[in-house]
């Protein structure tokens, strides 16, 4: 048996092979992660830990492996964002309003994972209802980024909303994790924790059983240590699901295989509108370096234009809150979750249950969403935003006439200090400037770790692909990964 640290620092692919070859048991592997999670409580990456259940699942996997059975992810311990409903395990969406809600059903994505033999370590922290870019809006408290600057002991945010999953992957608390991405919630936290985050094409992974934030934008995806691991995870997470009308009726290919191979001749677009004011020089420099890496491997670099980029954030902050205001109407204290004490009447029950149950950021977005849909404002806001969304999607279609993938920065900067941006929501919203366009257009995007800032914090690059062309996207991402040769991990300051 290998040392515990060697076990938990394996990639998903390495662990899969080790299990298959009998070099380690799922119980050993799972046990190592359960201990690591126990030691990492200061990070607050998990809302619910399910170590006992994990060990049982691991034993069952070991039995299947012993019989020569087992699925694609047999015995591999994963962390699940607490936005995925898990049968019998509390699901909170990091909100007080869901209270002690225990779903009597399983989300399709997690069901796919369990069907493939994966082991659930627990449910990870996130921004409340996935609304945030720093994991600071969680009712269960902020998550700390495992990374710290080499010149400071200040606690940094792990990004958001999938901050718990990002921290868990970066701190070796799981082999891989699930995330969801509505405006950047997989890619931005992956980038600022130095790991890989893939948002698939809208419709690739079923939304059934995922607590909805903005239905036309939400998409589940993997958060992993490597691009290969992302390919492995996506293969199992993705499916055609009759329970989700927006699920794409397309067979799921073998992404691990599609990921292989050269990028010679691949046309990589550089959208000029992504060169924006106020972005640190090292981000620009990294972007240029990324283009050079790809060029060096035989890709053709082409400058493209996405002219409506500047409208993306305002469009997003109309469409997403509008849908959220409606999606969150079901949390009314009547059937499940938190209910205010001693309501006078039904209106009082609604007002206080929702007033006490939702945090400030969620309330802000519900109010914005209600406003932009109301009579007299619909045309000025929601209808206009939908038109812009069409134009933004069209930008990408035109750009993809000239190229196969796009390369952009993943975030406008590295992880920032806890509390440094909470006073100004607009400044917080700017974190998604490079990622929201991809959700609005429904395209796949991936964040790949590409370097460190001068003070030692990870930075990522984003690649954007054509719809349902995750194969090419992963191949390009692997090229960036190989060239960047990012081998850094955070010092494990939390477990001393």
């Amino acid at each position: 048996m290998a040392a515990s640290n060697d076990l938990i620092s394996m990639t998903l692919a390495q662990a899969r092979d080790a299990l298959r070859d009998g070099k380690v048991s799922s119980r050993e592997l799972t046990g190592a992660f359960v201990s690591a999670i126990e030691a990492a409580k200061p990070l607050n990456a998990f809302i619910t830990e399910s170590g006992e259940q994990a060990l049982k699942m691991a034993d069952a996997s070991d039995q299947r492996i012993a019989k020569g059975e087992g699925g694609a992810l047999e015995g591999l311990p994963l962390a699940i964002k607490d936005l995925f409903c898990t049968r019998g395990t509390r699901t909170t969406a990091a909100s007080k309003i869901l209270g002690e809600f225990v779903p009597p059903y399983e989300s399709t994505v997690t069901q796919n994972l369990w069907d493939a033999g994966a082991v659930m370590l627990g449910k990870t922290n996130l921004d409340e209802f996935a609304m945030g870019s720093s994991n600071e809006t969680s009712f269960f408290g902020p998550v700390f980024n495992p990374w710290r600057a080499n010149d400071s002991n200040a606690n940094l945010v792990p990004g958001g909303s999938s901050g718990g999953s990002a921290a868990a992957v970066a701190a070796d608390l799981c082999l891989a994790a699930t995330g969801t991405d509505t405006g950047g919630s997989i890619r931005q936290p992956a980038a600022v924790t130095g790991r890989v985050g893939l948002k698939p094409t809208y419709g690739r992974c079923s939304r059934f059983g995922i607590v909805a934030f903005a239905s036309s934008l939400d998409q589940a995806g993997p958060m992993t240590k490597t691009v290969r691991d992302a390919a492995i995870m996506l293969k199992t997470m993705a499916s055609v699901d009759a329970k989700d009308s927006t699920s794409a009726d397309l067979a799921v290919p073998d992404y691990e295989q599609l990921m292989e191979g050269s990028i010679k001749g691949l046309r990589v677009g550089i959208p000029k509108e992504y060169r924006i004011d106020g972005v640190p020089a090292e981000i620009d420099a990294l972007w240029t370096r990324g283009a050079d890496w790809l060029k060096a491997q035989g890709a053709e670099i082409v400058e493209v234009s996405l002219p409506h980029t500047k409208y993306a954030l305002p469009t997003y902050y109309i469409v997403a809150p509008a849908e959220a205001s409606s999606n969150l109407a079901r949390y009314d204290g009547v059937r499940f979750g938190y209910r205010a004490a001693d309501p006078k009447d039904i209106t009082d029950l609604y007002e206080r249950s929702r007033g006490e149950g939702f945090g400030a950021e969620v309330q802000r977005r519900v109010l914005i969403g209600t406003y932009v849909l109301s009579a007299g404002y619909y045309d000025a806001y929601y209808a206009k935003a939908q038109k812009l969304r069409t134009l933004i999607a069209r930008d990408f279609t035109s750009a993809f006439d000239q190229c196969d993938v796009l390369l952009t920065p993943a975030t406008p900067g590295p992880a920032f200090a806890i509390g440094s941006k909470t006073a100004d929501p607009l400044e917080m919203y700017l974190n998604d400037v490079f990622t929201v366009t991809v959700n609005l257009a429904g395209l796949p995007g991936i964040a790949v770790p590409a370097g460190l800032t001068a003070n030692g914090l990870p930075l990522g690059l984003q690649l954007i692909g054509k719809a349902f062309d995750e194969g090419t996207l992963l191949r390009a991402a692997r090229a960036v990964e190989e060239a960047a040769d990012f081998k850094h991990s955070p010092a494990k300051w939390w477990s001393v």
């Binding site: 409903c85 809600f101 059934f208 409606s326 109407a329 609604y350």
Partner: protein, 505 residues
């Protein structure tokens, strides 16, 4: 023939007023499962026993359209001679209420599945009037709040939550409460023929909201000419009108209320009013200002509903014969417009009538027999046509026996009464023969009866010789003597001979 609706005027102090009526009918789609979930739609189940997680609005649940409900909406649209929209969109209608678990109702707002169509309504005088259909859209029903189960709590039953409804909206083309009731009756007949809604108003599977306004004489004509609503009055929407009778009451009350209000110097405000069937009046529910802002927007959980034209055509090809077509066919058999309309108003009645024809009854005689005898007995017994004790074949036999001169109309009624009790199914054999009711054409028996009548009434014999038209009195007496069994034609002929009466030609 169809003609535009005729106004029923209301006398006011300042002159005559016209009523203008439009309707919104919610018809529950006949389907095994709900519009967006697999839960059952069976009526009368225990509370909350037919609720899926989708219907209860649980986190992460998603709606999936039930193709059967779409088919039923298309079928209904075709039955309403309406335009089928090959692309339609589901929207969310947002409001808070405990019986609305999602906090929104999935409905169709700007792009309904069915567009403009037309329904011909049948009036008492046999006239038909076209009523324009504005649209039909699919939407989810809400659950039901139960306020009478506990002194200080309300309960919610979600069995109905998510059941598919068709909202059918008419143009303001009705001009009297009779026309409104006739419209609803015709609509109910159409959906029942189509099998898309059971039309049971008492179970709530068909519910009507009635829009009523009044205008001065000529205002409506102007509206029909220009299409502008300016010459019509402000309308009030009356909710919860759940029977044909209530529609008439609600419309009459509301129109009178509006006329009195205007003539008293007031103005009608656009509002939703509730019909109180006990008090027979409408009461304000909420004004336009208090109306909800439903914040409609396209439901992002559902793709636009795209129909395959070939699929729609297949549904069209499978449509049954509808009331108007059936009525035309019955009229071609010699029935009056009124009789034909009565027969087709319920599919079961039309089927019964056709079964009588198939069993050999003549159309006109059959409809008269039903109208004059059988329907009355059914009504009195409170029975629907299919629950009545006399089969279509039995009634056809009775009608045929009358036509053959085998029994008189009077005996036919007795035969019907006996058949009603005994349910032999074969009155011809079972009753007439067994009980000796076959008409007496035995001239000996008739002659004997004639002699007896003459002997008892010598004065009448003198009278009839002077006035041969009085012979009818003798016929009646002879029939009485024979217990109604004599063949009237034979009695007539024998009397003429015996009394030496001239032939009347």
């Amino acid at each position: 023939m169809s003609a535009p609706a005729k106004a029923k005027t209301i006398k006011g102090e300042t002159g005559d007023w016209e009523i203008v009526i439009g309707m919104e009918v919610h018809a529950q789609v006949l389907s095994e499962s709900k519009l967006f979930s697999g839960a059952s739609t069976r009526f009368g189940a225990d509370p909350n026993s037919q609720v899926s997680f989708v219907d209860a609005g649980f986190p992460g649940m998603l709606p999936v359209i039930n193709e059967k409900c779409v088919e039923q909406a298309v079928r209904t649209g075709l039955g309403l001679k309406a335009q089928i929209n090959m692309s339609s969109i589901f929207d969310r209608k947002n409001y808070f209420y405990p019986d609305l678990p999602q906090g929104y109702q999935i409905s169709q707002y700007k792009n309904p599945i069915v567009g403009e169509g037309e329904v011909l309504i049948d009036l008492k005088d046999g006239e038909t009037i076209p009523v324009g259909i504005e649209r039909l859209h699919l939407e989810q029903d809400a659950g039901k709040s139960l306020h009478d189960q506990h002194p200080d709590s309300s309960y919610v039953d979600l069995n109905r939550s998510g059941i598919a409804l068709m909202e059918i909206v008419t143009k303001p083309h009705m001009r009297s409460s009779e026309e409104a009731a006739a419209f609803l009756k015709k609509l109910r007949a159409i959906v029942r023929y189509l099998g898309t809604c059971d039309g049971n108003m008492d179970e709530g599977s068909m519910r009507a909201d009635v829009n009523v306004s009044v205008c001065k004489i000529g205002g409506y004509e102007e509206f029909r000419r220009t299409g502008s609503f300016k010459t019509l009055g402000t309308r009030c929407e009356i909710k919860n009108v759940n029977s044909m009778r209530f529609i008439a009451q609600a419309v009459e009350y509301e129109a009178r209320r509006q006329v009195d209000l205007i003539e008293g110097g007031g103005t009608v405000v656009q509002e939703t009013r509730l019909f109180d069937s006990r008090a027979g009046e409408t009461r304000s529910m909420r004004s336009k200002e208090e109306a909800h802002d439903y914040r409609y927007f396209p439901d992002p959980d559902l793709l636009p509903l795209e129909l395959d034209p070939a699929w729609v055509e297949a549904i069209r090809a499978s449509l049954p014969e509808l009331p108007d077509e059936k009525k035309a066919r019955f009229m071609a058999l010699g029935l009056s417009a009124y009789d034909a309309a009565v027969l087709v108003s319920e599919r079961e009645t039309a089927d019964y009538f056709e079964a009588m024809l198939a069993a050999g009854a003549e159309a006109k005689a059959a409809v008269n027999w039903l109208n004059n005898e059988y329907f009355g007995r059914l009504n009195k017994a409170g029975l629907a046509i299919n629950d009545g004790p006399v089969s279509a074949k039995a009634n056809a036999d009775i009608v045929a026996m009358v036509a053959e001169g085998l029994i008189s109309g009077k005996i036919a009624k007795d035969v019907l009464d006996i058949e009603w009790e005994t349910r032999t199914g074969d009155p011809r054999a079972a009753i007439v023969e067994a009980r000796g009711m076959k008409q007496v054409t035995d001239t000996g028996a008739i002659d004997a009866a004639i002699e007896a009548v003459i002997a008892a009434n010598p004065d009448k014999v003198e009278e009839v010789k002077a006035k041969p038209k009085l012979a009818g009195w003798f016929v009646g007496q002879v029939m009485k003597q024979t217990g109604g069994k004599a063949n009237p034609a034979a009695v007539n002929a024998a009397l003429k001979v015996r009394l030496n009466l001239p032939d009347e030609g």
